[in-house]
């Protein structure tokens, strides 16, 4: 009789996804009502309900259409509310959708890992790490843009790698579509694909083709953003291609950990508001208050640069990103796993990323095969750029929540290599022992 193995490394991903789904569902079942941080999450729900009632997307201010957020999350939530209502059923349906998107992210990480390392075991390890990572289990039950954006960035990575590998129009267009969706959810991820240019050159995509596809991408981005930019212009008389709330975050950032500048956030907001009154704008949209905060933030940054340029540079590009890289965003504790336990687990994986990169570098030098080295390098560079961009506004842990995706994706390789070496050593020792036994018995 043929001995059939039910679970193999090739289909183990489905077990991982089911485990991830069950963990997320368990949190929804036991803590559903607690999974609100009363911040952007409730803002999106309120905005979506207002959108359904009035047809206008609002956020915080009820007398103005908002320019403080991208439309993606509002439209998605409103779509679910339109079908299921915004009562208990609607909230549950939305939570299930977020959980399913989170599970899709697990699968996306698995696919990305397969593209980079071409090894099912490594891909399974990466997927398991994402599936059981408590902050992501927590986030998948909270209505923040992170869950949606993580899924987008993971599949954007996959199709970027796919495009570099196959150079087909199909993979390019899918990648472009996911990119457009991504910037409608989290605009700061917009810079991410640029960092895959070295891989594109390495894979010998003809330069002419890259230029043509680049132009198509620019046209597509222009076309996709035009209606939104026009809408923002009609509302504020100012050109806002994406969202117009960065000024506030930037001002907040200048009050965090900078010893060279005086003033609390509340005092600075008051000062910015006074300036808005002095300027007497024709339009009273709150966007101008946020814009003024941005101007004030820029002035403070200039002052900071003048006082100590080196400190500005190191704080913005090294200290703050490093601080956020070494922290986790875990808004609501789930499954009785504490913040410190999770941070410990995360930091160990961060070390594993370093080990992975050393192994990959050694393999690159030995085999002269740059695929693994460049693919993982591009992913790390892209995530680092997004992190620096985010923390240049304000060093908030939430702005580094996406880091774990990259960390687990890369650290899984070191984990695999260590396990592989241990198993090899174990087998080798076992073989040696058996050998000595058989030698003894033959004697």
């Amino acid at each position: 009789m043929e001995n059939k193995v039910l679970i193999t490394t090739k289909n183990f991903i489905w077990c991982t996804i089911i485990i991830g789904l069950l963990l997320r569902m368990h949190v929804m079942q036991t803590m559903g009502e607690e999974m609100f941080i009363f911040s952007d999450d409730v803002g999106y729900l309120r905005g979506a309900i207002d959108f359904l009632k009035s047809g206008y997307i609002t956020y915080g201010y009820r007398t103005y259409m908002t320019v403080f957020g991208m439309p993606g999350p509002f439209i998605l939530i409103a779509f679910i509310f339109k079908i299921f209502g915004y009562g208990t059923l609607g909230i549950t349906a939305l939570r299930i959708l977020f959980i399913l998107i989170s599970c899709l992210t697990i699968y996306g990480v698995y696919l990305c890992s397969l593209k980079v390392f071409k090894n099912y075991a490594v891909a399974n390890i990466a997927a398991i790490l994402i599936a059981v990572y408590p902050p992501y289990i927590s986030l998948s039950n909270i209505f923040l843009t992170e869950t949606l954006a993580f899924c987008c960035i993971v599949f954007l990575t996959y199709f970027l790698l796919d495009f570099c590998e196959k150079n087909t129009n199909r993979s390019f267009l899918i990648m472009l579509t996911i990119y457009l969706i991504t910037i409608f959810i989290k605009p700061t991820f917009g810079i991410y694909p640029i960092f895959f240019a070295p891989l594109m050159f390495y894979k010998k995509i003809p330069f002419r083709q890259l230029v043509i596809k680049g132009l198509v991408a620019v046209c597509a981005i222009g076309l996709a953003l035009f209606p939104w930019t026009l809408r923002n212009y009609i509302i504020t008389d100012d050109i806002i291609p994406l969202s117009g709330n960065q000024g506030d975050t930037k001002l907040l950032g200048t009050t965090m950990g900078i010893t060279y500048l005086d003033g609390t956030y509340a005092e600075l907001v008051e000062l910015a508001d006074e300036r808005v009154l002095e300027k007497n704008y024709e339009i009273s949209h709150p966007y101008y208050r946020f814009k003024e905060r941005g101007i004030l933030a820029d002035e403070r940054i200039e002052e900071w640069k003048e006082l100590n340029y080196k400190n500005y540079f190191t704080t913005t590009f090294v200290t703050n990103p490093n601080k956020i890289l070494k922290s986790i965003y875990y808004p609501i504790q789930v499954l009785d796993i504490t913040h410190n336990q999770t941070l410990d687990f995360y930091m160990k994986n961060l070390i594993m990323v370093g080990i992975s990169m050393i192994i990959i570098l050694i393999e690159f030098i030995k085999n002269k095969n740059g695929h693994k080295f460049l693919s993982s390098g591009c992913i790390i560079a892209g995530f680092t750029a997004v992190l620096i961009l985010n923390t240049s506004y304000a060093p908030l842990t939430r702005y580094g929540a996406q880091n774990a995706l990259c960390i687990f994706l890369i650290s899984s390789y070191a984990i695999y290599k260590i396990c592989d070496t241990v198993i090899y050593a174990f087998k080798f020792l076992k073989g040696k022992i058996n050998e000595s036994f058989s030698n003894n018995s033959s004697l």
Binding site: L45, Y56, R62, T63, G85, G87, W228, L230
Partner: protein, 207 residues
Amino acid sequence: MKVNVNKLSKKILKNELCLYLLVLFFMTCISTVFVIFNTEKQIDVQSYYEDIRNHNFHIERGTEMEVKTLGNNAITFYAPSIEEQTYITNFDGNINFAPTENYREMATIPEGTQAIQIDIDIGGYNVDKDYKVFLYLQAFNEDEEVTKITKEIDLYSTILRSRPLSYKLDVSDECKYYRVTVGILPTKEIVDEPVEITISNLSIIFK
């Protein structure tokens, strides 16, 4: 130079990249038209909600609370401590009965209504530890209660923040009037914690 339009259009339609841009352009045109006709410098989303001042929200029974109306949208109730079951209700009269003549017009359920949907934001300060908060939506005949829903509101927050809630009550032809009540129930005998409840974004939809 002569351009063969048929040939060119066929060429464009065969090229995946051109076709993609063409579809995107078409979608952009539709979105632009939509944006032009649906974008306003100033809007009034509040008009899609009830003017909360018309609803006479007040303490009907229990500990007296300080009442503050925040424009036409929100109302807050504050007390240094609540030691007994306290009910905040819209409209006048006893919470177990239909409103009096003064509010009957406003409280009337239109004929043919099969369900009443209530959209409301409830927020609480300090109510997560020693208190339970309930929302009651009742329907009455000329005088007595016919049907109601009771929902316990989980306000897992020690800071005053609201979240949108929506509930539906099925009603029969017998139901003539409705009433919205929020109940605050202390879970311990002696409670000495300040309490604040905010009610906002009220919307009553008859279906």
